[in-house]
Symmetry: C2
Subunit: 208 residues, 2 copies
């Protein structure tokens, strides 16, 4: 096939246009998630999101079909950040304890960021039944991975033996809770919070 | 003043009538909280609550002015259960560690019960601005009491020294989370859950 010589089209290349579309779509998500976290999902209208982006509401409908759709994408992004932290430690040959610590700190860091926060601040009964089902499946997947790492550590002797499921809930609770109480303008950095909560969980509180 | 001889009034005594009114009011709360926890606050209409009690909606308005008012009472009952656990350990002369353990187990038990669950399952942006302010003040009070017990334990050497505020958030997260995941029909009893989560927090996870 003959190759067509590329010229500098005033419309940009197709990949340029796709990149622009993606960055606009992402800007909607970035703005929406900030408003959902700060004002609550219910109290945040799409008009308000549009206003914050200096566009009209129909512009937003170019990228998302409704507010639930935006929320679901925000939640999915938050869950993906947690999942990518799991991916990293699943490859590792370290002890269960070490893998748990690395994963837990990364998970906790996610909870100091807007998309992670959203997974805990917004109740999933705001989602459509279909999205809710998908969101809950993602949550279950993360919980099972966390539990599996804990089981590994209990087996290899690096963690105290016990009920891995209950331990996973203990950790998930303490870590998810960061998304409820942490405010980025507070005195502690995200790293300090993540390391601090995980160290409390790993070491416990009782002096020896 | 001459005393009037009491007769068996067919209306009952005034204290009988008050007791009956209170028990009916409590029945509305008991039914509503179960439905809020199971179906979500948004999805639970007052019609549905009335139906579950075999009364009409106007009967419910005899006791509460609206659904928000019922939710607020449910949340207040949950918070009061946690607060009464604090009252018990505040009198005690035991070490910070021992008081923390007793309080944390009682708090965790609350989270396996309907009113406690409600404080974590229902987002407080469902409340009116006035009720939300009051609810948040109650939450802050509980958090401050928890933090004060932890500070005592760090001072008397029974707990590892550290950031008492962060430790209080770590504990509150793991304990509150019980209200999200625990289902009363599961294999673990409320006692097992409460003892298990608190023991994880006190002892930590790392084998020595």
């Amino acid at each position: 096939m003959a190759t067509i010589a590329k010229i500098d089209s005033p419309w940009g290349s197709q990949s340029d246009r796709e990149a622009k579309r993606n960055s606009k779509r992402q800007a909607v998500l970035d703005t929406a998630v900030r408003l959902f976290n700060a004002k609550g999902f219910q109290a945040t209208s799409l008009d308000y999101v549009a206003q914050a982006l200096s566009v009209t509401k129909p512009t937003i409908y170019h990228y998302f079909s409704n507010k639930d759709d935006i929320l679901f994408e925000c939640l999915r992004l938050g869950m993906r950040q947690i999942q990518s932290a799991i991916g990293e430690v699943q490859q590792s040959a370290a002890t269960g304890r070490d893998r748990l610590e690395v994963f837990a700190v990364a998970y906790a860091l996610t909870m100091t960021q807007e998309f992670g926060m959203c997974t805990i601040r917004t109740s999933d009964d705001q989602l459509s039944a279909k999205s809710r089902k998908e969101f809950r499946a993602l949550k279950r997947e993360i919980h099972e991975s966390l539990q599996a790492i804990i089981e590994d550590g209990m087996k290899d002797g690096s963690l105290i033996e016990g009920d891995a499921r209950l331990t996973a809930f203990t950790m998930a609770g303490a870590i998810n809770w960061i998304g409820r109480w942490y405010r980025p303008d507070q005195s502690m950095s995200p790293d300090q919070v993540a390391q601090g909560v995980v160290s409390n969980l790993m070491t416990g509180l009782v002096a020896r």
